[in-house]
Symmetry: C2
Subunit: 193 residues, 2 copies
């Protein structure tokens, strides 16, 4: 199953902290697919901000919903003081994280949504990566090479081809499931085929 | 628990056909709250159509998602040839349905989303109501009285005060839950308090 996410996305945080265990329990392989929502929102909605900021009524609901979801799933939660955080460098790091992708993805999401840290800051990212047992300096440098930048653009273009319009998403056997609350449906779909 | 819905809303259909049984199983009282999404979308988004039509990528996902959801919950489903249908008269009927509200709500939703019938047509509504064992002519006439029209406006204004920005919604002990897939969370919330 593929897990499509953006490090700036609140509901992606909930999914990122749940998807590994749920897939392991189902005996399914998991492929992490970092991408950028920004260009998609700009193309589809003509906005340069999160829809949750552009539509404050929906935004107010989302913040309360996140509190409830994190309580339900026993996840740490602190509302970030900056939203959305710029997720470009973090997404590039994820694109070149190799086998550390699962650990690093969770650590970066926790930094943003449990510890209110600025994941756009290279120094912060290096520290998060080091704490996760990988080489922060090496990965953050690698993340800024043309090859890795191109990989993230390829991912975002693939997300658009899949019809992705928000995050998180799961792709199971060619079927797109949007939203963290559809994780179980996506797993059930993958297992039935 | 309150169930907020619009007869034009696809996800409200799924919720409407599930909410009665789920609440009965939980031993909870259910209050049906028909309202109109149209004025809310106009106020919040500046649109005069369904967001699923305004955003066709999201719309394409929704139609496929509805097929899957109806298969999952074993509900009849036929994509309506007109979307969204004008739900004004149906919502007014629901406002004056009294104790028949549960039966009539399900029957009207099924007419729109399983039988592709024009629920904006008074003759169709009368027939649906008659088939449900109530008096179609009486209810459709009553639905067009100033008192019932005012009741629907009151409901829609209350939805706006609650921070509702889409449908369906559940309100459990003062907490708003948006989306048919949050029905179980809303019930759990109501039961814990």
């Amino acid at each position: 199953m593929q897990f499509w996410f953006d490090f700036a996305s609140t509901y992606s945080y909930v999914a990122a902290l749940r998807v590994g265990d749920e897939c392991a329990r189902a005996g399914m392989e998991l492929e992490y697919k970092p991408f950028l929502l920004g260009p998609i929102f700009t193309e589809l909605l003509g906005i340069k901000d999160s829809p949750f900021n552009v539509e404050p009524i929906r935004g107010r609901y989302m913040w309360r919903d996140l509190e409830r979801l994190c309580e339900k799933h026993r996840l740490p939660w602190r509302r970030p003081t900056v939203f959305p955080r710029n997720s470009l460098l973090a997404a590039r790091v994820a694109c070149c994280a190799g086998t550390a992708i699962s650990t690093l993805t969770r650590a970066i999401f926790r930094a943003n949504f449990a510890d209110d840290r600025d994941i756009a800051d290279p120094a912060v990212l290096r520290e998060i990566i080091d704490s996760g047992g990988a080489d922060g300096r090496r990965l953050v440098d690698l993340a800024q090479t043309p090859e890795v930048k191109a990989q993230l653009r390829v991912n975002t273009a693939e997300a658009q081809r899949l019809g992705i319009f928000g995050a998180p998403d799961f792709v199971a056997d060619g079927e797109l499931f949007f939203g963290q609350d559809r994780l179980e449906d996506a797993i059930a779909w993958a297992r039935r085929t």
